[in-house]
């Protein structure tokens, strides 16, 4: 019997793989001091708000434990919950479609839009549709997709890619946003200032007319309740609610892991999510809909259930817990690596600590091999995670898998050779003592700062992104011999 290893998300479509490895992409980001300032300011602000509202609940840990168990229980019976969801949505007038991957989901949505005869759609911010590159697919088919979330609009107008799960334009400051609006927004007031309120008003004016005339909307979903067939979207601006209410046709693209078994489960997630993501007690807008309601809201509803590598992640005993993610982005905001590199360096629409474990599992580790190393393993992400995903352990496991896959290659990597050499040296006391003496030659470097910024090749690969400590004047063995006179 062969082991099921899953079918990863296909190449050549969507935004799960970057063009460069994380260290290469991060180098450019780290050199951008404006970007680092924007990110530092934004992540610290959200971090503070989160800590304050999480501190208000004395049952936060119990909620986390419930959320974690709920997700694990859902995954264990995922097929049954999805079938139930399909049944309930269908019974209430919705149509359910299944998509094996990004290409299939894009084709389904494109066909559904074409069947309405419309050539433009409004969009609710959604990670799933970013993941599959839906906007690009629609554009190829001559359909214009208008993002309506303020930050997503900034990204779209700027011809940019999102860099944060919740705040996709976190890498932009208000002066840059003003520039983008002046350049890209038709009919915008040329006197527009960089005041946040004025910028939001300009976006609202730009969008309002689109909301009122839109016939088709496309959304994602935060939750889908299997036993009632109810879909939920939570948001801050009300743009989502506009899209979910005013158009005639609504198409929702949802990852299969978003289903929750019962309505009662929402009482856990509707506490965990807003406090973790925006640092609010409740998100300003929560919209729930069940199939089609005659005379109220969209009269045609399509739900597209998306796999795109999720079952590949599900097949991994440990890695499957990455699918518990409710996309709150708390782990991004507390991550010392994300705070400095920003989201683009990760190459995937899922950046930060959760992205570093989720993206390689969706694509297969070798397609995102550098991401498991994009972490200091400090553990802040686990503490912040509202569903207790043990991200550091998953990262270590993915690193091990990457090393195993490298080992299977005929030509060993430089790292594998170095590790083999280290093993040979460290397995003999005499060889280790000799190596310690040799390392003292390194004291010629780093005399001024106490650290070595650049070693000669091939060790320069190590110091390309970190400093090496200057070797000590005396080894431990020498110190021991001197202090204890050879006595044991």
């Amino acid at each position: 019997m062969t082991t099921f290893l899953g079918v990863p998300a296909p190449r050549g479509v969507g935004h799960l793989r970057g063009e460069h490895s994380f260290p290469d992409a991060a180098r450019g980001a780290l050199a951008d001091s404006q970007l680092r300032r924007n990110l530092g300011h934004a992540t610290h602000t959200i971090r503070g708000k989160r800590a304050s509202v999480v501190g208000e609940l004395d049952d936060w840990e119990q909620l986390r434990l419930a959320g974690s168990a709920l997700k694990a229980a859902t995954m264990a019976r995922l097929d049954e919950h999805l079938e139930r969801l399909e049944r309930e949505v269908t019974a209430r007038g919705g149509t359910v479609h299944w998509a094996r991957d990004a290409n299939e989901a894009n084709a389904i949505v494109t066909r559904l839009v074409q069947e309405t005869g419309e050539t433009e759609v409004v969009k609710v911010k959604s990670m799933a549709t970013q993941e599959i590159g839906l906007n690009e697919a629609l554009e190829t088919a001559g359909i214009e997709a208008h993002e309506t979330d303020l930050a997503e609009l900034i990204v779209q107008l700027g011809g940019d890619l999102p860099s944060h799960i919740l705040v996709p334009a976190i890498h932009r400051n208000r002066a840059e946003i003003r520039e983008i609006f002046l350049r890209e927004m038709p009919g915008v007031d040329p006197e527009l200032t960089a005041e946040p309120r004025r910028l939001a008003m300009a976006a609202r004016a730009h969008l309002r007319e689109r909301f009122l005339r839109a016939k088709v909307a496309i959304s994602g979903a935060n939750f889908a309740v299997a036993d009632t067939g109810t879909l939920l979207v939570v948001e801050s601006e009300g743009n989502g609610r506009m899209c979910l209410t005013l158009p005639e046709t609504l198409i929702t693209v949802m990852g299969i892991e978003k289903v929750v078994p019962t309505w009662q489960d929402l009482e856990v997630f509707l506490q965990l999510l807003p406090r973790s993501s925006t640092g609010e007690r409740m998100n300003p807008y929560t919209s729930a809909w069940t199939g089609v309601t005659p005379g109220d809201g969209p009269q045609t509803f399509h739900l597209v259930l998306l796999d795109n590598g999720r079952t590949a992640a599900l097949a991994d005993e440990l890695g499957r817990s990455a699918l518990h993610c409710i996309k709150c982005s708390a782990c991004l905001n507390v991550c010392p690596v994300y705070e400095r590199t920003g989201g683009h360096a990760y190459g995937s629409v899922y950046p930060g600590p959760i992205g570093a474990v989720l993206s390689p599992q969706l694509t297969g580790v070798e397609d995102n091999a550098s991401l498991p190393y994009a972490s200091t393993l400090c553990g802040a992400c686990f503490d912040a995670c509202p569903v207790r995903i043990d991200i550091p352990s998953l990262l270590v496991k993915l690193r091990a898998r990457h090393v195993d896959e490298q080992r299977a290659r005929t030509v060993p990597s430089a790292e594998a050779i170095a590790m083999a050499a280290a093993s040979w040296v460290m397995s003999s006391p005499a060889r280790f003592a000799a190596a310690e003496k040799v390392s003292r030659a390194g004291r010629l470097l780093g005399r001024r700062t106490g650290g070595i910024a650049a070693l000669p090749p091939p060790l320069s690969a190590w110091t390309a992104s970190r400093d090496a400590p200057r070797p000590p004047a005396e080894t431990f063995r020498e110190w021991w011999a001197r202090e204890r006179g050879g006595a044991s």
């Binding site: 899953g6 009300g238 409740m282 809909w289 079952t311 097949a315």
Partner: protein, 202 residues
Amino acid sequence: MTAREEVLGRIRAANAAAGHPPPPDVPRDYHRTGSHPAGAPELLALLRDRLVDYKATVLDAAADGVAEAVQIALTEVTGPVVVPPGLPAGWWPDGLAATRVTDDGLSPADLDATAAVLTGCAAACAVTGTIALDGSPDQGRRAITLVPDVHVCVVRAEQVVETVPESSPRWIRRARSRSSADRRPRATSSWSGWRACTARAR
């Protein structure tokens, strides 16, 4: 094989490959209720505090004084005011200069021409400052509370609960009944950035 069969098959194979992890019991020892019963004065004070924090205006009203409070809430509104077909009798202020428009399926453009909306609600959660609407006759279609800039929402004291677990069953109630086609849950929170007023009947 259809995509449906294939995805479901992959899920089953994946769960098998992961060793069929059993579904764990879900510990529900978080607070399922608050310290105060629905409508307690402490909850009304907390809700007011939260709503004001969201820049809403909160007015108090006795059970027979709703129309009076609504009139004050709508003082500065000059355009038409849309109301749901099931607006309770006695809520509309007779002395109001603004035109009353009862929703009968107004188009988005029609709604755009209205200045305010007056509705009831399904529940309010004091801890989070959230007001939930579920499309009942006193609340109407979702669109009417979405397009106008001002929403005057009457919250009855007994509709105010303390925690999220106490409030969410109140806005799903209508979804559980399968008998009628229009029983669908929908909900809204308060209105960030837009002017909103809440009259409360005691």
